[in-house]
């Protein structure tokens, strides 16, 4: 499985990269890490990932806009939103744009693994 990690925090990007090596998950190869939506679109075109973890509040292009653009490019893409924005309206908006799941920050390692397991079902 090819994964693209999108988050403006370097700490979060490297944390997600570490957690996805969990043995309960299938082999996941990180094909890129982007700190905003614009970089993410470029990496999507270059590496054709199957899964994306997507932050919402980012500079340049936010996660909702980026999700919409990515799904237009690849409707089968599995996008997991990983965001602190905890109001229901935002989650619904992201899911309507084509995201497959939503995980609230702050998350534990276990919660991210479970979110991936759900996403890959």
């Amino acid at each position: 499985m090819r994964l693209l990690i999108v988050d403006d925090s370097n700490i979060i990007r490297s944390r997600i990269a570490r957690i996805v090596s969990d043995p309960r998950l299938p082999d996941i190869t990180i094909v890129g890490m982007a700190k905003n939506g614009v970089e993410a679109i470029t990496l999507l075109q270059q590496h054709n990932p199957e899964m994306v973890t997507m932050d919402l509040t980012m500079p340049e292009m936010d996660g909702v806009e980026c999700t919409e653009a990515m799904i237009k490019m690849n409707p089968k893409l599995n996008i997991l939103i990983v965001s602190a924005l905890s109001d229901k309206a935002t989650a619904i908006k992201a899911l309507k744009k084509g995201a497959k799941g939503f995980l609230y920050k702050p998350f534990t390692d276990e919660q991210l693994v479970e979110a991936f397991v759900e996403l890959l079902k």
């Binding site: 509040t57 924005l85 905890s86 109001d87 935002t90």
Partner: protein, 158 residues
Amino acid sequence: MANDINEKEITVFVDALIHYFVQITGEKADVRTAFLGDGEALPAPHEFTGMIKVSGGYHGFIYFSADRVLLSRLLLILQEPHHTDEQMLDAVGEIANTLAGNVRRHFGEQMEVSVPSTIQHAKSEQFQNMVRSHPYVVTMKWKQYDACVIVDIVRTAK
């Protein structure tokens, strides 16, 4: 003052702060005080400060400020090998962002939050000039390390 958020709403920030430390470290942060600050006598900022600009139905800023030692412990728990100033700034920015994002559960999507900006070595006077005269101040301790959250927001008049 009529558009200020009230003391009850400050508990939403306190809860978000406690939740953050429990989720990330497995340990509860001890909230020491939550009070209406006096601009001239705000607590001195810690070495690293993350801030989020709030707009839309509310306006103002939310700050999270902590010292290197607290942030280093946090980065160790996150298994982050690099403890540079850049990583410390990233950490306070991400914590401020998480608190601001989480309180939207209460305040709704009309509380628009910016991407974080960060400052290192903010001076007390600089901090006092940045905030209004009476922001809410939440001081906390995690392990033996101090940090604070300053909530300086008001509802936008309709």
